[in-house]
Symmetry: C2
Subunit: 430 residues, 2 copies
């Protein structure tokens, strides 16, 4: 421990794609590294929707930080559980509920959470997909609706229970709507023989005229067609006004009656209490950074990934909030911190393409100018996600689950596990 | 559906080992069958302790009823989610929070839950292992203590956080204590470098003079030795008095300071509100049944598995509350219900033996007069449990997890997932 005194202390808030990749690339001979995270595991947000749709177990897409700290690239990094409540940039301290840490350099990599755009109480009425517990809750609520509907003799109530509205046509919205459509098409009649196909309705609502806004026109059209084949009712150019008493209201006056709204319509950066500086976060809570991911106006504080916004010629409104940007910013910042005497390298995003899956054998991918869809894109999607997952065990388990679902036409993990503190009786009674 | 009118309606409360096996063996040409369960999945209690010790994910030992209802043996059975609140034996009705079902024959197979022997508020202070959510909660609390301890500069507090007391020396107690001991011996120093081996203490407390009371003397001794090798402090003949303000008190005046008590010391049968009869359940809420699992004094109502107690010459105090008895009673009752015109066959328990695992390469097994221990027993334990699990997917995933743990000397799923409704900040602050 004597040598660690000579090292500078790097504190990273958040062990997601950005923070963890920074930790992997930082030179541990120069820096002693502490990762703070509110969870004791690294998670894999691109597959949260599969937890929500009963396709994967939460643990399969999570990896304990303490195991990752034993890996070759992370050896020497420390993991501290906690929520960074408050940062004091004058004293160079980070406070969590458990401790106060001093830093020489601080990196904000806490990512993003849901944005409800100030719609009152919306947070309490909808289900979201921005963390593992949220995805588990979404899974439980979907399964709850199916079970309750199967016992409900009143057709109107039953239809209402089986109306699933997904708000937001980005990748998460398209993917969860696709999974629900697939359930309707392939599984409903078999596993819920008392229900009619017509009772179930999946609606995907998008405010703009295009699904998968950041992807190509072709991908967006293919996604729309794919969802329609899965009996998803896609409604474009539809602006949501309110959601009260089980009624979704839109700007055009139309309504949808539903007990289950999955909200994927917006994100904002995770926020902190900041002391010792006047610098404030910008649009949607994102911290404005220069080309080196340094927050302008606060010494030795950086922001990477979803929480940062960097305006460049190619991306004047900032980069997309995706895993690739986070990973690359983490690596680039490590490179710059490792070489303080060399001229810092400006971040340049190498867009490797983007993809979204709609259902079995159905996906879309844009890779450079190339566009893939159908089976080829779906297969590419599988391989890319399997390879990006942390840990051999997780890869093996995810692979088995995917094969199982593929051959049985059914998600294998339709398990409604309520937190122990919510006894079924209390929670369900209406 | 026309033919189902001619069939008699069999309602089974509980889809555990007993209820599900009855459903598999019942003649669907004579009976229309409804299984009511509070969960939408069949679970596998012998492995709950592995969920609690981060060895397995809950879904790997759960199987959705609706999928099982598609299997060859269960085809035609219906699954209804719900808790059987109230039974009216005069009207022959079962009430759940969702519906009222009429029956021609009713089988109570709802199993057992924790028994706190009237110790006030004990339920709220200890962690238990009698259901999947309880096991998940136990896992979360154990991981919470480890993380908190690793951030705690005060040695006394740290030691208190790392004292894990397991009360009850039956199979569940031995198994969870073994898993905790294994963690201490093989994983603690590696994954929690800031903690000392001496800080952690695992205590197993048993009221009688013998671990694994129902097993052979030899098994009991081997289990004791195995646990001691895993640095578990086994205390026999120790009667617990109370647990208040983090202090476990015993009849002999001794105390243990701990924030974490895992309670495996007793079970009682799940209870119902019963109307239309004066018959009451007996010792620990178990329903007294005759040799055919019929509840004496209530027409066409049966009890099987943990919830029943059948006094026989060989088992004057009833059979042990284990999976084998439940499975066999389910099959025997099905046989009798299928053949109403034949003389009913009295239940006879075919004891195939019992086993308990202590840790890697350490287990004990009694098979007839034979006793196995060490590697052989451990391997037998693995094979038996793997074969008994429902579903190929589950077997494959469990197998991968076990292999992974075996070769890495570590449980792979050390993931602390709080229910979404308990934000970390609120839950943890002291």
């Amino acid at each position: 421990m004597a040598t660690s005194k000579d090292k500078k202390h790097l504190v990273i808030i958040g062990g997601g794609f950005a923070g963890l990749n920074l930790a992997k690339h930082i030179d541990k001979a120069q820096w002693s590294v502490t990762i703070i995270d509110r969870n004791n595991y690294h998670s894999f947000p691109p597959l949260f929707y599969q937890v929500a749709s009963s396709g994967l177990e939460p643990a399969s897409i999570s990896f304990p930080f303490r195991r990752e700290m034993l890996s070759r690239k992370c050896r020497g990094c420390e993991f501290h559980l906690g929520e960074a409540d408050r940062i004091d940039t004058a004293r160079r301290e980070v406070h969590t509920q458990f401790e106060t840490l001093s830093y020489d350099a601080l990196v904000l990599a806490a990512g993003s959470t849901n944005n409800f755009f100030g719609i009152p109480d919306l947070e309490k009425k909808v289900y979201t997909l921005k963390s593992t517990p949220e995805a588990i809750r979404c899974r439980n609520e979907i399964l709850d609706r199916l079970e309750r509907a199967s016992l409900c003799p009143d057709r109107d109530k039953r239809r209402r229970l089986l109306t699933f509205a997904v708000v937001g046509g980005g990748p998460a919205g398209v993917e969860i709507a696709g999974a629900l459509g697939e359930f309707k098409r392939y599984t409903l009649k078999r596993e819920y023989p008392s229900l009619d196909l017509d009772d179930m309705r999946v609606v995907l609502i998008e405010g703009t005229g295009k699904l998968l806004g950041t992807m190509s026109e072709k991908s967006s059209e293919d996604a729309l067609r794919g969802l329609e084949q899965l009996m998803v009712d896609v409604q474009l150019n539809k602006k949501m006004d309110s959601y009260d008493d089980g009624v979704l209201r839109f700007a055009d006056g139309s309504t949808i009656e539903t007990d289950t709204v999955v909200w994927t319509a917006g994100v904002r950066a995770v926020s902190f209490e900041m002391e010792g500086t006047d610098v404030q976060p910008g649009h949607a809570g994102r911290w404005e950074v220069d080309a080196y991911n340094s927050i302008v106006g606060i010494d030795d504080v950086y922001a990477i990934g979803d929480i940062a916004i960097m305006s460049t010629v190619k991306y004047p409104k900032g980069h997309p909030q995706v895993a690739q940007v986070a990973l690359q910013q983490g690596a680039n910042l490590a490179e710059n911190l490792n070489n303080p005497h060399r001229e810092a390298r400006a971040f340049e995003y190498n867009d490797k393409g983007s993809m979204a899956t709609i259902g079995r054998n159905r996906a879309v991918a844009d890779i450079g100018k190339m566009h893939l869809s159908g089976k080829a894109a779906w297969f590419a999607w599988l391989v890319v996600h399997l390879m990006t997952l942390l840990g051999m065990r997780n890869r093996a388990v995810v692979f088995i689950n995917w094969m199982w679902s593929y051959f049985t036409f059914s998600a294998g993990l339709r398990i409604l596990i309520r937190p122990e503190k919510y006894p079924l009786r209390k929670y369900w009674k209406e």
